[in-house]
Amino acid sequence: MDALSGLLYGLSVAVRPENLFFVFVGCFLGTLIGVLPGIGPVGAISILLPMTFQLAPSGAIIMLAGIYYGVMYGGSTTSILVNVPGETASVVTCLDGYQMARQGRAGPALGIAAFGSFFAGTIGLVGLQIMANPLSRIALKFGPPEYFALITLGFSLITYLSYGSKLKACVMALLGLILSGVGLDPITSQERMTFGILNLFEGIGVAPLAMGLFGVAEVFNNLEALSSGNIVKVRITKLFPSKLDWMQAKWAMVRGTAIGSLLGILPGGGPVLATFVAYGVEKRVAKNPERFGKGAIEGVASPESANNAAASTSFIPFLTLGIPPNVVLAVLLGAFMVHGIVPGPLLIKDHPDLFWGLVGSMYIGNVVLVILNLPLIPLWVQVLRIPGKILYPLVLLFCLVGAFSINNNVFDILVMIIFGMVGYLCRQNGYEGAPLILSFVLGPMFEVNFRRSLLMSQGSFSIFFTRPIALGAMIFSLGLAMFPIYKLLGKRSKGL
């Protein structure tokens, strides 16, 4: 069965009434979970998984997959409206999305996020459908040294995430790296910086950290503004993106899609890394990068496209090799296995109805999500009309509930509040949260792949420079690091 007839067959499976119902339920739940901070797709799918034991496998998998990519749509909403990332993959969207909302452009930001998600999700699916097999072979080429090199590349983009002092961005990145080391050593299980606190054994949770640094810190900031009466009245100018918005966002969407599609196939990389890289690249290629962090629509379009494209293409290693590239798909693998179906090279031959049915349902799901999300925009924008003294306590309340709901653990609330205060102090002094989050997310992967590589090479650093992919990524990141120095030297010699 070639890709086209496969797709037609898949669509015919997906439009069966019961499957349409499951697509809708999955997308609806996904949007909801994405909007609510704290509750992530892993928790939601794990909770729903046992309920699907009785369902037909295709229905169950279509629904659970719908939750996964639906979350990528909903996650941007709270990032844009109140600076609280709904998911880790939406942290970057806060940077420019929230600034747009403050300028009364929440509608265009939400609209571009929804359309970018649709565009990228669909293109990612085309990639999944046509190039699943060759792409999955590339994914396997990434061993520990390649991951280490790739993450080094991610680190070299870190300063692009800030719009203030580069030095301060580096300080925050180092702080993030140190914080990511808290917990049991990933290889030998020895305690590190836990101070004997059991709750720190698994390390600091990324969701309470991000919610604290962005959401809670924002609430504190606004409290100050409220009490001093120094409040900016937001005037909502328009609800949907203008022609200028489209022109500015168009190529950002395309680049975000490309980056997301590529990074999505890598086990361990996934949507989060894709959003950071997409934003960094966008700022790098922009004609006037100083607009970023002050409400540039490209800064919303690109990461929101990237996370949806990555969500689509992350199905490639999953369906063709049976390897789940992230935790959400690991849970989905469980959903397959409890029904006695094993994703992998044989899936498309043994269960064509399931493979093509899932792909077909994802095309439909992306349409469903746009239809679900667009009418909601005028409603969401009304949130900004709520007076600050009511809105910000509500935001704080949602953050508290969200942080608690992750593990039902009060400790996570404590972590969130502490980082809320840290975030507030940092912001007052011109230190930004995004570089900290990025290195906090990358840190553990950076460390464990570094150590695994050196175990493989028995301590020789040559392993990072003798494998082609690793070497390429290393040269590229060295180039990125050298570029500003080169520019600086160029300026000086001209000055002389």
């Binding site: 892993v42 794990s46 909770i47 998984l49 046992p50 034991f53 396997l140 080429k141 990434f142 061993g143 520990p144 917990g183 049991l184 990933p186 290889i187 030998t188 299980s189 020895q190 305690e191 004997g196 059991l198 709750n199 054994f201 698994e202 390390g203 086990p267 361990g268 090799l321 049976g322 390897i323 789940p324 935790v327 798909l329 690991a330 849970v331 989905l332 693998l333 469980g334 296995m337 409890v338 029904h339 006695g340 094993v342 994703p343 992998g344 090279p345 044989l346 593990n407 039902n408 464990v448 695994r452 175990l455 493989m456 028995q458």
Partner: protein
């Protein structure tokens, strides 16, 4: 649906009956479980420990009449979940599903913040994961003997992936390495899926893996050289066990559920009975079969004895093979 709602009505009615009749002293105890129970799992979602625990949790929900919520706390080769179990209130509302290896093998090789044979009270042992040594399908080694011979003639060339330092899979390869005096490079991963990915990408020469390898063997991506059970696996009757090949190693990892010791005996009894019944649930057994796990049944006492006997066996074995001088954690 009918059946479920009828069950719900029964549970509510039962609960009401209890609350009306046992007013006073032991109200809370008599009503157990009156709210959802959390079952900690020390490994990431999607692995065989996680999936089998979810399946058993689903079956035991019907017996106990309360939701059993899975909470994954991966890390530290599974010890993080056990440590955090001890940090919770010991009221029967938090339990932990763990492979026995995390109680009796890992603590001998690394210092852990609990006393494995003293701090926990086993409730049930319910399944055994198949373990195996696998290579790429186009690898030159047809038997384990070929692989070992290559390792001997090229010291340091053969790299292998396991599910973590001190895991049962790691110990199995160490047993081979020590006996053959072979120098091989250990690359530990976090769980079976990551380790399998490294093998499929040829970043290591072989993998000592938990049941995650089975689909790849069936799909012809990998080749199984040996299993680690006491007897040959019925699904791979043509593949020898390590024991048959002359290595003193048998899988000592049994999936079970434990609570902190000191939990009220009434609740322990109730849980033991509920899990024993749930372990016979047909849907659960079908899921175990889909996951390629071998079902078994130990009650709390039997599982406790199994742990004690195997702690000593593993201890003697680890010392004899030179992996440790003494257990890193004292058992009691």
């Amino acid at each position: 649906m009918m059946k479920k709602s009828a069950g719900l009505v029964l549970v509510i009615a039962g609960g009401l009956w209890l609350s009306f009749h046992v007013i006073g002293g032991s109200q809370a105890m008599a009503a157990y479980p009156e709210r959802p129970i959390t079952l900690l799992v020390g490994f990431a979602p999607g692995g065989s420990m996680d999936l089998s625990a979810r399946s058993l949790a689903k079956a035991v929900e019907k017996v106990l009449g309360q939701p059993v919520v899975i909470e994954n706390k991966p890390g530290g080769t599974g010890t993080v979940a056990l440590a955090s179990l001890l940090a919770q209130n010991n009221d029967g509302y938090t339990l932990c599903a763990t492979p026995s290896s995390v109680l009796i093998r890992v603590p001998q090789m690394q210092k852990v913040p609990f006393k494995p044979l003293k701090n926990f009270r086993p409730i049930i042992g319910f399944a055994e994961p198949p373990l195996g040594i696998v290579v790429q399908n186009d690898a030159p080694w047809k038997t384990l003997k070929d692989l070992v011979a290559d390792a001997l003639s090229h010291p340091g060339k053969i790299k292998y992936a396991t599910t973590g330092v001190g895991s049962t899979t790691h110990a199995a390869v160490e047993e081979i390495a020590v006996k053959e005096k072979a120098h091989m490079i250990h690359v530990p991963f976090k769980g079976g899926t990551e380790a399998l990915t490294a093998l499929l990408g040829v970043h290591v020469e072989f993998g000592a893996l938990t049941s995650e390898f089975i689909p790849s063997v069936k799909a012809g991506q990998t080749r199984l050289l040996a299993t680690m059970g006491d007897k040959r696996s019925p699904k791979f009757a043509g593949v020898p066990t390590l024991k048959e090949l002359g290595y003193d190693f048998v899988n000592d990892a049994v999936f079970g559920i434990v609570c902190p010791s000191g939990l009220s005996p009434d609740i322990v009894k109730q849980l033991e009975a509920a899990f024993a019944k749930a372990a016979k649930n047909e849907q659960h057994l079908a899921i175990l079969d889909n996951l390629d796990l071998v079902p078994l049944y130990y009650d709390g006492k039997q599982f406790e004895d199994f742990l004690k006997v195997n702690w000593k066996k593993i201890n003697a074995h680890l010392i004899a093979t030179g992996l440790i001088k003494e257990a890193a954690t004292s058992p009691e």
